[in-house]
């Protein structure tokens, strides 16, 4: 009987915070304060080292005044 391997989940969130923040002229600290996060968390998210919770992601999008999908893209094929 063949063994069925479960499909490995793929995909990666691709934040575009740095570009949008630069365009809006907002510093990391200002964004952190507006999103109720620390500056280190904003740095980690921008660097792709930390995936924020939905609540924080929405707060960041709201602070940047941009739609959620514009701030957090998703690459379904990335490992």
């Amino acid at each position: 009987m063949p063994v069925v391997q479960p499909a490995r989940a793929k995909g990666r969130v691709m934040p575009r915070i740095r570009e949008l923040r630069g365009a809006a002229g907002i510093t990391q600290q200002e964004l952190a304060d507006a999103a109720l996060a620390t500056r280190q968390t904003i740095i980690a998210i921008e660097a792709g080292k930390y995936a924020p919770s939905l609540e924080l992601a929405f707060r960041i999008a709201r602070a940047l005044g941009a739609p959620f999908e514009a701030v957090f893209g998703f690459d379904p094929d990335a490992d």
Binding site: D33, L36, T41, A44, P52
Partner: protein, 151 residues
Amino acid sequence: MSLAFQRTMLSLGAAVAIWGYFAHRMLDGVRVVDQAPGKVLWAFMAVVVLFVIAEAAIAGWAGVRQRAEGGIAEDERDVAIAAEAGRWESGVVLAGVNILVLHAILDAAYAGHALPRIDLTHMPTLVFALVSVLFAGHLTRLTITALRYRP
């Protein structure tokens, strides 16, 4: 270098120094010195007091720095890092205690074995082993925390 990283490194340095002091009080080379219970209790209490003083001083320093810098003191990432580091600490303490338990059982069952001996019937050795397991867990937690906060 973030305040959280600096605070973790200070705690790590303090923990290593305090464990070093404890080892200095308890060891002669690699052997645990035979000591009266009162002396062992004094060494243990000194470790607890030094630990509390060091952590209180570091927390106070970090609090002053945080107020000066402003902004949010802690968010979900800090909580996630603390939770991950706590899981590592629990794992190390669990492994350490299990090793001591297995060692005690196997030591009784195979008295002539060639492995390094830990005489857990010797009170200072037992105290040193248990406190060292606690320190190993604590140092693991701080190391994981420092790795997650590293610049």
